[in-house]
Assembly symmetry: C2
Homo-oligomer: 377 residues x 2
DNA sequence: CTGAAAGCGCTTACAG
DNA sequence: CTGAAAGCGCTTACAG
């Protein structure tokens, strides 16, 4: 079952002890003798702190858990001992007693590495100093064991909670499962799919509108749109925001100028080729993410078109690729990392102390070289 | 200390019980009454399995830990009960008794999202079915608390082991620290920095040589090289392999045609500009990763040069960006995910059963459109 | 080959 | 405001 942990390999030779500081002086208690086969001094436990502070372990426990029912004087004495010995409670023991671990799961199926890494960094930002750790768990909605896998993961690890980025976040059966087994969760999505306490809502629609306005302001009227995967709400929201901008400018979206993409580079090439073949040709193409915009850029090149002189091509996300292609892409910046931080803070209840229900900062336009006014033909 | 876990919020209302199957029939034992406030039936424990199989919990423990000292008949009976009830031991309780958790840490500082995500996927591949989980832990070698952070992380979580990708893997003080505190570790690097049992050695040097041979075979003799960050061994190994290829072809590396990069797109632009300004101009530029090759591509375009007609530009890694730029980059494919799997398997001792000390598959050339014979001038 | 007792380091439930 | 007892679900150390 667990490799490397076979019974006969587990002969332990460490000696027990309570000492924890770095001096080599053995205490007078014979149990304290410390050789530390593995070179380390034993960490202090709640019992050590209790003894040293002259209180019961229960009282130390109260201090750890910020119980109000401790006299200030007692608390200060205990906190001093804790600080002096660098004591930190053992999350495993605490978890066992709490019947809940101090692990946060990130259950995701997003295919974009940059999104995944930024989201992780954001979650870690939110968890920093809290004592929680982040366990990553990719999943596959198409797998027949999809829900069972998640259930086994959550139950076995007794996860404190999980964060769900798109598109798993948009799967109702996952949210239902988590509710059933009593696991806290936060869904990250571009629309309010659940009760507010379970949601961090991204502002994809606004981002789509900002980009739409940019294109309209440049003078474009015949604009193509490349959608993302249909099972990502963000794709619909970005398109919806774009339509909002068109509508406000008195323009309408021509369905013939909407091409289906899949958020991948290759799908951007194909959709770009298709749109550039329309007659009349669009003067601008708005792709629902940068990856597809990079693909559309390539389609334009193959068609012998210069960007932005002949056609404007813009993306969404502001990931690295937007800067690495030529010309660099005008795009919409999305605060992925910040969204992650907010999700983690909300999950562990940190946000209640700071601000109530903070929304991520608004997406904004990043102007680069791939957008320009339409060619005067 | 731990947000959301204040003393007075922890009033628990669940009832205890031992039932675990899905039938609602309460057992005759009054303690078994089960309402499951959180909707869930209680999971079976080792005590339930022991009772059901008519043995002591110690014997169940032996089965779980694959002790040879269990009669076959007893073992089978217990395994049947385990399977019937879907029992899985609680990793927290097990960890507490073992004085070691079932968590594997990935401690990394690699800046490339694609590398990080692929490495994570590989580690997860190796951990699958083992009961171990992956905890991610980015770090910063420049931080004054760098080592203390790692120590606190490893000790607090009682990590079973950690995997170190470059460049943390190349930090001797980290390896020393891990040895001292008795934490198992695997270093992933392009040279054997440590005892074999602590190493997965990538074949960057071979990759560099393969690419060098490709360029030589195309007829290039005046080749520029853009290095990666100097504190990444891979950078030196890739250059070393390139030199090997040159030497074997009777060519020598001209130091004037080596430019310092930093593995980033921007550094590729700068190094590309510098090299393209040399007289005579190199007919090919080998960048130590794809990101910099994308940058060099941009430098070439700005200099009014066509790739590959005027100058060949090639990369290393075969990440997505190699396919997303124009022209798509000839590059060297590195089995990042496989390396991750091997590292995880080695760490948890899985590899001893499969193959002894497997090496990652060799890097190979991926031929795309950015390389061609030198221009006939 | 198997088991009863003690313990891992915490918290809960209950007294005072 | 504080503490002694019991328990979380496992394993170790020791008997038999």
């Amino acid at each position: 079952m667990l490799a490397g942990l076979e019974y006969d390999k587990r002969k332990r030779s460490e000696l027990l002890g309570n000492a924890v500081d770095s001096s080599k002086t053995p205490s007078s208690d014979p149990e304290d003798s410390e050789l530390g086969v593995e070179g380390g001094r034993k960490r202090a436990t709640i019992n050590d702190i209790a003894r040293l502070a002259g209180v019961s372990k229960k009282t130390v426990s109260r201090v750890i858990n910020q119980s109000p029912f401790v006299r200030d004087e007692t608390r200060e004495r205990i906190e001093a001992v804790i600080a002096e010995w660098g004591y930190a409670p053992d999350p495993q023991a605490r978890g066992l007693a709490f019947r809940r671990s101090f692990l946060i799961g990130m259950v995701y199926d997003n295919p974009n590495p940059q999104y995944v890494v930024n989201m992780q960094l954001g979650l870690l930002d939110g968890l920093r100093g809290s004592g929680f750790e982040l366990v990553v768990h990719p999943c596959n909605r198409a797998s027949p064991t999809f829900l069972n896998d998640i259930r086994a993961f959550v139950e076995r690890q007794k996860l404190f909670g999980v964060v769900l980025p798109p598109s798993v976040s948009e799967d109702e059966s996952v949210a239902r499962l988590l509710s059933e087994i009593g696991c806290a969760y936060i869904r990250i999505a571009s629309v309010e799919l659940d009760k507010p306490e379970h949601m961090i809502v991204g502002r994809d629609r606004l981002g789509g509108e900002v980009m739409g306005r940019h294109l309209v302001d440049l003078g474009h009227t015949r604009i193509g749109f490349v959608t993302g995967l249909p099972n990502f709400r963000s794709s619909h929201e970005r398109l919806g925001g774009f339509e909002d901008a068109l509508r406000k400018a008195g323009l309408a979206l021509d369905p013939d100028y909407v091409a289906q993409g899949a958020y991948t580079f290759e799908s951007g090439v194909a959709a770009g080729e298709a749109l550039l073949a329309r007659t009349p040709r669009p003067t601008a193409i708005f792709c629902a993410n940068d990856e597809m915009a990079a693909g559309a850029l390539q389609a334009a090149r193959r068609a012998g078109l210069n960007v932005p002189e002949d056609v404007t091509i813009v993306g969404f996300d502001d990931f690295q690729i937007a800067q690495s292609v030529w010309p660099p892409l005008t795009t919409i910046h999305i605060p992925t990392r910040e969204v992650g931080r907010l999700a983690a803070e909300k999950l562990i209840g940190k946000e209640t102390r700071d601000a109530r229900d903070p929304a991520p900062t608004a997406p904004y336009l990043v102007l680069r070289e791939s957008s320009a006014p339409p060619p005067k033909s």
